[in-house]
Amino acid sequence: MSTGEKKRVINRVKAMYPLRAKVDESYLRSQEAIKAGKPTVWAMLNFCYGDPILKAMDIEVVYPENYGAALAAAGVARGYLDRADAEGFPTHLCGYSRANFGYAARLMELGGEPPPEAPMGGMPKPLFLLSSVAVCDARYKWFQALGRYLDVPVWTLEAPLPGIREFQLEGCYEEMVKLSVSHLRDFVTFVEKAVGRKMDWDRLDEIVNLMMEINRVSHEVNELRKAKPCPMHSRDFWSAMPPALFLLGDLKESLQLYKNLYDEVAERVENGISAIPEEKYRLVFAELPPWHSLDLFDRLAERGWNFVIESFGYHPPPPVDLSHVKDPLERIARYSLQRMVANYRDALQKNVVAGADVYIYLKYVSEWKCDGAFLHPLVSCRSASTHLPHLANILMERLKVPSLIVEGDIVDLRLFNPQDALQRTEPFEEAMEHYRRVRRELGFDW
């Protein structure tokens, strides 16, 4: 649903474009590779766990989660959703999964040939499925349920997630590492059997280092966004993130592109260049953006709303020096665990026991100096929504920062109504003004 006007207001970072382009490029390249008979795997976004291994084994990866979004954006999701419904999948399940069930059912009735109506050539029949227990139940139950259509095995990646207090118990972290490492070792054996090739450990070693370096740079870019005015808008982050998040294409090339991004953003900071004409308010966005009506952010930019930080789940883990760790699998494990545990100690110190995904937003808001939070609960995606009411409460309690909540969905795009958001901008600005005064009175520095 468009907000009507189409005027572009956000001052996009030029170095973002080649990173964004990499999505389509690598997509086309993998399409060719697949046609050339290269093995393909369907994977869940697995937060650095499995991707480097698949990359080292030279396997093409497609992400049904993203494809679900693509189906929705192309407006062809409905047919697949109805098919999933007809297959007997309850209608309250994750919208992406339901779209994927409908797709898989079509794929197999066409003898494994991608359906003609599928956008971007569709997803080919996979060699195996790589799911992950991280983030939500759907992300492994979904692939297990695909067994109804695809006669290929599922590898379910473990992702330990202890409580913030319990994490402090002696040995907890090392046990998490132990689980992850031996688990990844088994996974490598599994992949070797599947493709009938041995792992090139040196290559893996190099890929892991590049992965960490890419993420480090992208982390530094976000640090730069603490500047006032903020030089880079959330839209640029979302456009630029895929190469780091999915290890797309050539990693050396990606690394260079992120460095270029860093340089341009750094230069903007130097010259006090803002991402929007006049930064009146700095906002944080959680979690998944309304992909189909992103021009809403232009309308908000006209009112001086600058989105300076966002979507914890898409952000790189904080950098950590693992040069002393020789085993690449252990480096993968420790690095992936970073995403959650890096903040556990701080979270406990600040007595935020509701999980890293809540604590991180307190950090974002206080370090990126946000005036407000834009929260976007998704009706059919519980993992991106459940913590938001608590998040709104704790941001107000601890930091006196108000939240604007506008509901949406991941596939039923009509559920998100930009008008609702725009209707509420006026009163929300009054609220942000009010709490600015309150924060000053309480001695906060923004």
């Binding site: 309850p90 399940l93 227990v133 009706v379 009411p389």
Partner: protein
């Protein structure tokens, strides 16, 4: 003269908090747990009374509205609502476990909005691989650490073995309880079983075992009612914590097997007393409890998976239930937003179809309002199989 057997079970269900408060009054520590994956053996070994926490179907959710969205497991939502309303304030603490997202997410909110002296969250792996069992065992070790400091007692080889034996006895008692539903007509109704299990989960292990023994005696003594043959149903779902729901299912049939956490599921198998106790417990809970949350699959070859072999690996244990309990039909009963089980629905239906047993899926939203439509669906289902 205190009530015994089934009437005692009814009594306990109707005044669960009072019963638990009784234990605290006797100077015992009482710990609440919302999910059957919490190894109660560890509590019993340290002389702590476990107390199962449920939602309250008749109670409108108000407090939880402020901390959880509407589209969320209504059972955990209601369970948290009760907690926020102070219903569990008499407890010495709560143990939650990462058995599903709703459990994990609710735990974090729970911990953030209540001030119980003790709160522990146990992480759980998703698979049953060896390294996963080891990790789960290490998590249980962490639980023991905090429980020991709470109770001021130490976990010894002796008291953990005693506890494991006591709970293994409870398992075998529940298993024999379900033998009583095999004759036709059954000696116990599903409605009675829901109450018995709910009562057992609200009592210290020995009292629970005592109650089960009484109920078994009482039911065995029953005269075979030669009533008109009613359809024999298998209930498959997450959990049933309300006798009225079962009464609706049984208005024109008998639920002779409850494959859910309010029935047989938590009591399948036995914990091995050989080797390290924590590893034994970890392995048992991870592999014996057949909740949809645990990832199981059968892989034929590195890149091949046979759907029917896979179904058998996931649901094979139901085959003998269908034959031994002479099941005429299966009701798949889930609350809305129960993702782990909802993803299973088409597959488990396929499995029952392969056994030639009709199955129907009923979804409700954990409100009284959903009972009337539920009844219509069950009756219509019975008409299709009758």
């Amino acid at each position: 003269m205190a009530a015994k057997g089934l009437s005692r079970a009814k009594e306990v269900c109707s005044q669960r908090p009072a019963v638990a408060k009784g234990a605290t009054a006797r100077g015992k520590k009482v710990i609440g747990y919302p999910c059957v994956y919490v190894p109660l053996e560890l509590l019993a070994a340290l002389d702590i009374v476990p107390y199962r926490l449920y939602g309250e179907m008749r109670e409108p959710v108000t407090e939880a509205d402020r901390v959880l969205p509407a589209s969320f497991c209504p059972i955990m939502r209601s369970c948290l609502d009760c907690a926020l309303k102070g219903r569990h304030d008499f407890l010495d603490g709560v143990i939650t476990i990462h058995s599903s997202d709703p459990q994990e997410k609710t735990a974090r909110i729970w911990q953030s909005y209540t001030t119980l002296p003790y709160f522990h969250f146990v992480d759980m792996p998703g698979t049953t691989r060896p390294e996963a069992v080891d990790y789960f065992a290490s998590q249980l070790k962490g639980l023991v650490t905090t429980l020991e400091s709470l109770s001021g007692k130490k976990l010894s080889a002796d008291n953990i073995t005693k506890a494991i034996n006591a709970y293994n006895h409870q398992r075998s008692l529940v298993q024999s309880l379900f033998q009583l539903t095999r004759p036709s007509p059954p000696l116990l109704t599903g409605t009675e079983i829901v109450q018995v299990i709910k009562a057992v989960m609200s009592l210290p292990v020995d009292e629970g075992n005592q109650l089960l023994t009484e109920v078994i005696e009482e039911a065995k003594a029953r005269k075979q009612k030669s009533e008109a043959q009613r359809a024999r149903l298998l209930l498959w779902g997450s959990t049933t914590d309300d006798a009225e729901v079962m009464a609706v299912l049984e208005s024109n049939a008998n639920v002779v097997f409850l494959e859910d956490c309010g029935g047989y599921r938590p009591y399948r198998g036995k914990v091995s007393t050989a080797g390290d106790a924590l590893t034994a417990l970890a392995r048992h809970y991870l592999t014996e409890i057949t909740c949809a949350r645990t990832f199981i699959q059968n892989v034929a070859a590195p890149t091949k998976k046979d759907y029917h072999k896979d179904l058998h690996a996931r649901y094979g244990y139901l085959k003998s239930v269908i034959t031994d309990w002479k099941v005429d039909g299966v009701v798949l009963l889930l609350v809305r937003y129960c993702d782990p089980f909802a993803f299973e629905v088409p597959a488990v239906k396929d499995y029952f179809a392969s056994l030639g047993v009709p199955a129907t899926y009923i979804e409700y939203d954990y409100t009284e309002g959903s009972l009337a439509p539920m009844r219509t669906r069950v009756e219509a289902f019975l008409e299709t199989i009758g």
